[in-house]
Symmetry: C2
Subunit: 361 residues, 2 copies
């Protein structure tokens, strides 16, 4: 028993690491040094055993693994982060999870990042003004990249993030600069497609329920919708503002249909708005969908395919968006700025019951 150097040698007297230091510091985990002492080898060999290096003999490996087992040793990643300047941590910033679309995307992200050997640090931001509060934390944990799944990321917010000099991938937002790139679904084209579908179904007057005024995705969907309506010679849509939530769609539809112009086709900036609007039409205004009003949304959340809803909508190919994001993150190594153009993935129209009627017949 050679316990001369340190007064307290962990594992020499007792195999349990739960003990107080003479100095008063509390030692929670066994270290590679402790394992080395118990196994009777050098710390180097412990490290090499766990890093899978070949430079360790079978007998040593066995001794090390036995000692590690006894001490419940698991190598810490923390020093490695210090040495390599890579934490393998990716931060995902989310605004709200009330929209199932974002839950789905978040789940997909987790699975993919974990498979790629990264861990996910999750941060919540009530509004993008609060971004400044979390910036220091992001930097302090030395995250390798930041994925912003905020519905809205203002240019100012993007600039704040860029100051960190950490690669940022913004989801569904058009901003991009040296450090921020974006991955979005095809919004403009979807707006055009739905206009064509409504017209093909015989609609004459049109409505649009938007997301928050600052949401670029909502704006693009509306622009495509309006452009195509104009091209086809239809009048401009009546517009009401929602907030991407069920209640917003409900209220917006109520006010829109109590006004002078009652559209017979209604495009909503996302599915939650659309479902809220449908409920307002059916349950409060006693209008039939699709017989009186055609309705379409965007996102293809699970509820859109419920039998009682059957909402026509767009599937944004979330898997492809996540794929693109991951590959950008993985290629953005060594702290160099991103050299990526904004990525746009297609959104596929899924027609269901809420547009399944020819209004002319």
């Amino acid at each position: 028993m050679t316990a001369e150097k340190k007064a307290a040698t962990l594992g020499a007297a007792d195999a349990s690491p739960d003990q107080d230091w003479p100095g008063g510091t509390f030692k929670k985990y066994a270290s590679s040094v402790d394992v080395a002492r118990v196994a009777g080898v050098s710390q180097s060999q412990v490290s090499r055993t766990f890093s899978g290096s070949s430079k360790v003999s079978e007998s040593t490996r066995k001794k090390v693994l036995e000692a590690a087992e006894r001490l419940d040793y698991r190598p810490s990643l923390i020093p490695r982060i210090m040495l390599t300047h890579k934490s393998n941590l990716v931060a995902i910033v989310v605004g709200g999870l009330y929209n199932p679309f974002y839950s789905t995307v978040l789940e997909e992200f987790m699975i993919r990042f974990q498979a790629a050997g990264h861990q996910v640090l999750l941060l919540h931001i009530p509004n993008d003004h609060a971004l400044d509060d979390v910036i220091p934390k992001l930097a302090s944990y030395r995250v390798d990249a930041i994925v912003s799944a905020l519905a809205i990321l203002s240019p100012a917010g993007a600039a704040t993030l860029a100051k960190l000099k950490i690669p940022v991938i913004a989801f569904n937002t058009a901003v991009n600069n040296e450090w921020v790139t974006s991955v979005s679904s095809e919004n403009f084209e979807a707006g055009r497609q739905i206009a064509d579908l409504f017209i093909a179904r015989g609609a004459r007057s049109f409505g649009f329920i938007s997301g928050p005024s600052t949401s670029p995705a909502s704006a693009r969907r509306r622009e495509g919708y309006e452009e195509r309506l104009r091209e086809r010679g239809a009048g401009p849509p009546t517009v009401a503002r929602g907030d991407y939530r069920y209640e917003g769609g409900f209220a917006a539809a109520l006010s829109m249909f109590s006004g002078p112009s009652r559209p017979d086709a209604l495009f909503c900036a996302n599915d939650l708005l659309a479902i809220g609007a449908i409920d307002a039409l059916r349950e409060r205004l006693v209008l039939r969908v699709p017989d009186d009003v055609l309705v379409a949304g965007f996102d293809d959340i699970p509820a859109a395919s419920w039998a009682s809803v059957g909402l026509t909508t767009f599937t944004p190919d979330a898997a492809a968006m996540v794929d693109e994001t991951i590959s950008i993150v993985l290629s953005a190594a060594n702290g160099k700025p991103l050299a990526t153009k904004p990525v746009v993935v297609s959104a596929k129209l899924i027609e269901r019951g809420t547009t399944n009627r020819d209004l002319r017949s």
Copy 2:
């Protein structure tokens, strides 16, 4: 310019930290040493400036902050973790986010943990057999606590987690041992309450759609339901197995109502199952809810209060559950085992349209 010790002195020649070392190592962030060099003070004073210690003069503080600004310096938390054995990281393990209840809870957690100065490491586990894969990661990142928001955590899984000697709080699961404690909603009592409600509404024959067979929450809800039915002299409920998803409720209701016994009151282990069942009844079997069948669920997800659904259900007081969990985590310091009994928070019955009919009239 005294740059004798190190060949490459960051900030002495150039204020930008983006440069390659002669040694080849890439330096991504400025360190406190770099700041100290630029500010012309010792590293200690830089550290003290940022830790808010009072032992630093106004002039020094100013010089330090200026230099830090120029170098984009943000103190790293990594060395602190090494010194204190506390990472301020809390891992949240989730199984699936398809159930909006878990999204809501997760969001609540994030907000509360961030407010308490912790960061959230999010992990996804397809099934609790895969727990073993993430255990090493959890240990390697030295998380302070683990919150399991898995719908199901088997005793074996709990034992695996306990081996880590990290406090584990299991959500909605009854297991608990020296390292694992649980926070659940009142399930048994809810089952009893809904039996009383059904009987008060004049129901005669009863049904239950369960979650996965291994879910303790589902089992408890059923037990309370069956016990109270027995006490009130009603026959045992017809039971079908679902999987906590909409599709499972839909299929279970179809099969149950194509069988010999058609219940006129149906309790489902969660809201998604209930909504699936309602859609099957209304859209496929052309039965009316609540006129022909009363239906109730559990969780009070947002869709439960949609006008088109109006589902009678139980609100599990997620806020209280999160509160309890957080306080357990915060009190579980210094690697000591938990000394907490399982916590049970109440669930409040919310009656809506799907039970709003007296079947006798």
